[in-house]
Symmetry: C2
């Protein structure tokens, strides 16, 4: 999907313009999570939904996987701010015959894995199955939560791991092969890595939920800069195209000054996955260049008009 | 729908049992909103979704009405705790051709009417239109937020207004007649009344979103008591059946000791609508009796298995 025209991003921008702006110190629409409240007790607030047939093919993954994913993508939004998830409300809309116990089994597993309290929600009938989650996070402490807009020319660009695993997994499942990595069925949020990145002083962060070029592009757009990439790490079994635009990987993309490279590598690596430096922010237009070639921004974008 | 068997309520109870319980002082699944955090800074957190064809017939109301309703039903959840709504995230799932500007027009109108900040959300494709909202509220101050479980035998039972207006409005619209009251298309949350009720010392409160007998029944179940009703105030143009079980009225039902009747009537009436005393809580089984006859609990319940 080409993002230059209409689409989801333009629609969100239209929505933002018709609503009141936040007071100083708060951040509302346009990042992975909103930042609310007085600086001393910052609250993070985000929402994400998964829809049957759009975000998960229920002929390929279980209902428990579907429930897991609904929580994981929301934890990832808090991770991308460097926050700690605290509580979530879960709205399930779907056919009354849905096996709620299995679905909620996956929700409860993910909630336990990332220590999120499920404190309420709604249950309603609908023709297709949808799980809509809203999540709160603790954003208190220093440095402040990491937005997607703080990158500068000269900053290194990092990812928390190789990309394309989810798309490759989906391709394998569609071909009747097992997806041992379970990256499509059971994506992992990089929560510990996100907190460590914040503590290491990264300047901007976003999750790669819609694909590297789309999400890195958003980070660059927010700062009005470009990127020169040296490499794009490709997950085992994935293609270059899947790594660039597959989406749903939930690795974190972040930027940091070169002087912080040691702290970033050590801090994030000790928290979980060893981060990979993939390039550098450059001044100029918000283009992403790899080996002298500008990459098209391709990935997952809902075709909203 | 008979609630004695399976259904939504039983499904929620099964969900509650598979999740960890809240720490002392917090209230999670099972009330209009969750109560989180330290007593001094109580946060209310709730979610509710509206689905095309289930909660609103888009051949009878506008997309702006649909957006309004999605916000109103969530504000009503905070109203039913006696809280003040602060921020909401809005997830819209629907066909890409949906007129987002009109839909968001209604969302923005309701958000402005009740002073809720729209701080984020998600936009995703789905075959049918659904708006899922999660809302935060301020529950700080004394007395604490009002749960649905604090009623005692001897307490008066009050409602903030006559019932059945939404069902009557839907019936008129289906018959091709205008619904001048707009109770179906533009329901009002009784926010000021809920806060005034809390300040006046009411003992339990719930909104009548699923119908008087269903929701009063939940309040009685939570306290293990019954109700003897003197009257059920019927909205202009509504039938007795619509008043008893129509649902979607979003009037508040609350209980208070007879000694507080003056404060309740004056406080709530000054805040907005003059409340109506409809009966009294009685010890014994959780039956609702009107003029010597036990009322069946009928109303809106999703047929979850």
């Amino acid at each position: 999907v080409d993002v230059s025209g209409g689409g989801e991003f333009a629609a969100i921008e239209r929505i933002r313009r018709r609503l009141p702006p936040p007071p100083p110190g708060e951040l509302w629409i346009g990042d992975d999570a909103a930042i609310l409240g007085p600086v001393g007790s910052r609250v993070l607030f985000a929402a994400d939904a998964v829809v049957e047939g759009v975000h998960a093919d229920l002929s390929l993954v279980t209902l428990a996987d579907f429930g897991w994913k609904a929580v994981a993508v929301n934890v990832s939004d808090i991770a991308a701010m460097g926050g700690r998830p605290t509580a979530a409300v879960i709205t399930i809309a779907g056919p009354p015959a849905t096996d709620l116990d299995t679905l909620y089994g996956g929700i409860a597993e993910a909630a336990a894995a990332w220590e999120v309290a499920i404190v309420g929600g709604d249950l309603t009938t609908a023709r297709e199955l949808l799980v809509s989650v809203a999540i709160l996070g603790d954003g208190s402490g220093d440095p402040p939560p990491v937005t997607r807009s703080g990158a500068s020319a000269g900053d290194d660009i990092w990812v928390t791991g190789p990309l394309g695993a989810s798309s490759a997994g989906l391709r394998r499942l569609r071909a009747g092969q097992p997806d041992d990595a379970r990256a499509y069925g059971r994506p992992m949020a990089r929560l510990a890595e996100g907190r460590a990145a914040r503590e290491a002083g990264v300047t901007a962060m976003i999750d790669a939920s819609d694909g590297l070029t789309i999400d890195l592009g958003r980070l660059l757009d927010a700062a009005g800069i470009g990127a020169a990439l040296d490499e794009v790490p490709i997950a085992p079994g994935a293609t270059a195209e899947e790594a660039l635009g597959g989406g749903e990987d939930y690795e974190l993309i972040f930027t940091a000054p070169p002087a912080a490279a040691g702290a970033v590598s050590e801090g994030v690596g000790r928290a979980g996955r060893l981060p990979i430096r993939i390039g550098r922010c450059v001044s100029g237009p918000a283009a992403i260049v790899l080996a002298g070639r500008e990459l098209p921004r391709r990935g997952w974008e809902h075709p909203w008009g």
